[in-house]
């Protein structure tokens, strides 16, 4: 590829991570996308990840983590077991059924190994403020610790920024290897960025159910519908149900 610096982007194929990949490309990096097949119901999202990385002229890796289905069989997570995917607002308590134990740490640790191996500058992930309520592994403090662990655990290898040799760790005292530009912004703001960056939104996949088209009723579909509507732009996505999300919004459950 080029002489540009390399960036590894964790990309699921959803609106957030696809927008992130376009954002990172616009910053001048060559994009190395990494996606994970962990036995999720909605693994068709991986095709969208590949499509988008191709659009950006990047390199795309899909990591086979199907061992997760067996390993996490007792977790009760609806994304990797037979438990039903809950419908309703993304912020609802029922959405906890979609938590996959330690998913982000596993993905970030593998993405970091890849980044170190190819001499990339950093690893990017599209966690955002709306994720914090349900997913503890999308919160700033988790990212801070994970970032520190990667940098301490690989000191002297790859392109990791130097870390000060003190025993304590405080938020903000390290230059980040793991980059999370969306962590304090909302999904609505990300959708706005998607339009600004000219992302082909129809070629992203959010629905947890993984059917032929987006269901329009699961937590991520409702969240996606709200966010795209908030931009005032037309939503090019096809949904099975196009009114449920407004009712969910009006139930004011968050």
């Amino acid at each position: 590829m080029s002489d540009n610096k390399k960036a590894v982007v964790v990309i699921s194929g959803g609106l957030d991570s696809v927008t992130l990949a376009h954002y990172v490309k616009q910053l001048g990096y060559d994009v190395y996308g990494i996606s994970f097949n962990y036995g999720q119901r909605h693994k068709k999202e991986l095709n969208y990840a590949k499509y988008q990385i191709d659009v950006l002229g990047g390199v795309h890796k899909i990591v086979d983590m199907t061992f997760m289905t067996d390993l996490l069989a007792e977790s009760g997570s609806s994304l990797v077991t037979d438990t039903e995917v809950p419908e309703g607002h993304y912020g609802e308590e029922s959405m906890k059924a979609t938590v996959v134990p330690n998913r982000n740490m596993i993905m970030l640790s593998i993405a970091s190994a890849y980044a170190i191996s190819i001499g990339a500058e950093n690893v990017w992930t599209g966690v955002h403020a709306g994720d914090h309520f349900i997913y503890p592994d999308c919160r700033p403090r988790f990212i801070m610790c994970t970032d520190a662990a990667v940098r301490i655990g690989n000191q002297g290898f790859g392109n990791l920024p130097e870390i000060p040799d003190n025993e304590g760790l405080k938020q903000g005292d390290l230059d980040k290897f793991i980059q999370t530009p969306f962590i304090e912004i909302t999904k609505n703001a990300i959708a706005q960025s998607a339009f600004a960056l000219d992302v082909d939104i129809a070629m992203t996949w959010s629905c947890y159910k993984g059917g032929d088209i987006h269901c329009g009723k699961c937590g991520t579909c409702v969240e996606r519908l709200e966010a795209i509507a908030s931009t005032g732009n037309e939503d090019p996505t096809l949904y099975e149900d196009t009114t449920f999300w407004l009712e969910a919004l009006n139930r004011d459950t968050v």
Copy 2:
């Protein structure tokens, strides 16, 4: 199984992790061993891991991470690429060729996901003081950050100990989920424990080369020979070369 508490033990099949599994069993836990096939040359170690967990009446999972071979092709690590395994003392500079980027974080994050899924109390890993020199991901500060990341990233799920809700993190202010009883002791002391715990040492595998019998010349073989000799007990292991380690020891390279 029984009503005992569950513990997940990361077990490679080597002397340290096998001794650890026996130690954890003796503490009264039911042992859930987890091993990783990451394309390592010496994957025959996995058979020894399985054998030992069977001896302990535990459950054993082998996680297929062979994707690492492709993902880390540019890392130059002699454990997952064609680069030759260095010979000599474990502490030597040349042993850096055996570093696999971020290996411990990947393994600990998957082991933690498994532990949370089955409601285990904790995750155990056999890193020891002699590992610190070569492997940054065996140092106490790395374990501290990884432990914190797991507990923050999975708050409210599994059997994780509560964490205080402050933004700073200092070493020692958390009850550990990731347990490392050997982190400040030497390999010699572990070998002593192995004999005290009646571990069948002949049924452990250390050699990085993964041949028919232990080579006696790679870093881990030399380390193993030294440690077992230091206990004053007879070493039941078969080695191709039985004198190289003494020369390496006398070169006083550490």
